[in-house]
């Protein structure tokens, strides 16, 4: 009999990832007394286990071994399979990150279980969960029905509230034999780019054709620095070679849902709107008063980006000095 929740909690640089703790918080909210088990995988991650209790785990399974020091799809998949066998959950949650996207579907296939990815809302219907997720890059939403005893669900970062609702958790070692590793990470190279990952940033400042040329990125970067925001870009400027694809927001780029999205010189092509229209507050700055972006903006400013953005940066700096 499957019961309870298992949450894969990802760690990086000796810290549990916020997006994973959001998934754990959501599992606790949905559990209604059913058990919530967290799974940590890595080398030297046992020290982090206790803090998982704070976010709702009753029990933390730890797969802590040198095997997991570098990421490999197979070893991480083996650990998750072992955890599922150890606690027979109904639902396995993970944050929708690059790592989970890589190995969670592989585990689902091994256990012949369904997977629902990038979920933005979990509705309850009796004992079952109805995941709601964006399709067509957010142009529409799908409410899904699960017909299985075990299902894998990945949750979009920045959507589910982080909540310290738990107490202390019991910590158990999980024995995993990972012996068929076909490929593994040999090196990790930090990208030169945002300190805050786009899909997890609470404020994003994005630039399009209206910034006139790649030489003007520093104008937007200054505003990012003042706000603690991540920098984004439209497809037009990525395709023009003004900036790397990792910054692209929209269909064929990243879908984002920050608290505040500031679109600078972006006209608002349907592919771009699809990727950012679930942002809480949208500010559009564009010299064309008829640009489609204004239909979606909470606040619209008509004017030259290169004139307005430095003034905005200045005002934000002043605000922070006063506080």
């Amino acid at each position: 009999m499957s019961i309870g929740y298992l949450v894969f909690v990802e760690s990086r640089g000796g810290q549990l990832r916020k997006a994973s703790l959001e998934a754990l918080s959501e599992a606790k909210r949905k559990s209604a007394g059913e058990s919530v088990t967290a799974l940590l995988i890595g080398s030297g991650v046992k020290a982090l286990a206790e803090s998982a209790g704070k976010y709702g785990a009753d029990k933390v399974l730890v797969a802590d071994s040198a095997t997991f020091a570098d990421y490999s799809t197979e070893a991480y998949a083996d650990a998750l399979v072992a955890a599922v066998k150890a606690c027979s959950p109904r639902f396995v949650f993970a944050a929708h990150t690059a790592m989970a996207r890589d190995f969670v579907p592989r585990v689902a296939a091994r256990l012949d279980a369904p997977c629902v990815a990038d979920v933005m809302e979990l509705r309850s219907e009796g004992q079952n969960l109805l995941p709601v997720r964006p399709m067509y890059s957010g142009k529409c939403l799908g409410v899904y029905e699960i017909n299985a005893d075990l299902a894998f669900i990945t949750l979009r970062p920045n959507i589910f509230a982080l909540e310290e609702a738990g107490g202390s958790a019991t910590v158990e070692d999980l024995a995993v034999t990972a012996n068929d590793i076909k490929a593994k990470v040999a090196d990790v190279q930090a990208s030169q780019g945002n300190k805050v990952e786009l899909s997890e940033a609470s404020i994003i400042v994005s630039g399009g054709r209206g910034i006139k040329g790649p030489e003007n990125w520093p104008v937007l970067q200054s505003l990012c620095d003042a706000l603690g925001a991540a920098l984004g870009a439209s497809r037009a400027v990525v395709d023009a070679g003004w900036i790397d694809h990792q910054y692209q927001v929209g269909q064929t780029g990243k879908t984002v849902s920050p608290q505040l999205y500031i679109a600078c010189g972006i006209s608002g092509a349907i592919q771009h709107l699809a990727g950012m229209s679930s942002s809480k507050v949208i500010v559009a700055i564009n010299k064309d008063p008829d640009a489609p972006i204004f239909k979606h903006a909470t606040y619209g400013l008509v004017g030259d980006v290169l004139e307005i953005v430095p003034k905005l940066t200045e005002e934000v700096r002043k605000l922070h000095e006063h506080n």
Partner: protein, 260 residues
């Protein structure tokens, strides 16, 4: 090197989405189908690998009549042969069933690598590449922006949050393509003409040996209802010169929107 490419026919990304009457799908009336944008990088990488190491390339597409043009387009770009996986049982498959059909089509073909887009535009599930690798028992690397192989081993660079991972392993492998992997070529006139004359093989559930194992009650997750995103409330256009607008904006972001 024997290479498979999986391509999904999806609505053009320009499409304005409307819902079908039963709200279980989108309204396909007037929708133009294209190869999912990331699949174009997969096709290109297959062609580049063949150019370097020799061998042959086969493109697979699962779906109905909408797949034909997409398969022809892949042939026109230089893929050697095309297989259309088409059966009434394949309607509304979930990701796991989709991977099962693809695995059945690929497993006995003697392939060294599968290239596929990291996500199919529309469903946006990003699951099939990993599931396919598991069902084949192969290595995988997803969201790949750089790929090298000597025909026995591979080295792939994948995009993760704020970093790139360099993955090394042995073939066979499933590689899911991210934008940036390469610059896809466009089909030339000669390619288009040649593609028209090529035959597209069609395989159904029986031919693939998956009859009764996918589709129908084997679908474990399905759409109960589709919704359009909630309309955003009418916004405010700020007035005045740049200084006035900026001061007004900062004040609204603080006291009205509470995001500063």
């Amino acid at each position: 090197m024997k290479i498979a490419v999986c391509v999904k026919a999806v609505p053009d990304t320009e499409t304005k989405i409307a819902l079908a009457a039963d709200k279980k799908n989108i309204d396909f009336a007037g929708v133009r189908f294209i190869a999912s944008p990331y699949d174009e990088f997969a096709i290109e990488e297959a062609l580049k690998s063949k150019e370097k190491l020799g061998g042959e390339t086969t493109v697979f597409s699962l779906g109905g009549a909408e797949c034909t043009d997409v398969l022809r387009d892949a042939l026109a770009r230089g893929i050697d042969s095309a297989v259309h996986l088409n059966d009434a049982d394949f309607a509304g498959l979930d990701t796991l069933s989709t991977a099962k059909v693809l695995a059945a089509a690929i497993k006995d073909g003697g392939f060294d690598a599968v290239f596929v887009g990291h996500t199919g535009s529309g469903g946006d599930n990003s699951q099939v590449p990993s599931m396919l690798a598991e069902l084949l028992g192969w290595a995988q690397t997803t969201m790949v922006v750089k790929f090298e192989t000597d025909g026995k081993t591979f080295k792939a660079e994948r995009e993760i949050e704020g970093a790139h991972e360099i993955v090394e392993g042995n073939l066979p492998v499933v590689i899911s393509a991210q934008k940036g992997l390469n610059e896809p070529r466009y089909p030339g006139i000669k390619g288009v003409m040649a593609a028209r004359r090529k035959e597209i093989a069609v395989k159904d559930a029986t031919a693939l040996g998956v009859k009764g194992t996918v589709g129908g009650d084997k679908i474990k997750v399905k759409i109960k209802e589709m919704l359009l995103p909630p309309e955003r409330p009418q916004g405010k256009k700020l007035e005045g010169d740049a200084d006035t607008q900026v001061k007004q904006l900062v004040s609204l972001l603080r006291s009205e929107a509470h995001v500063l």
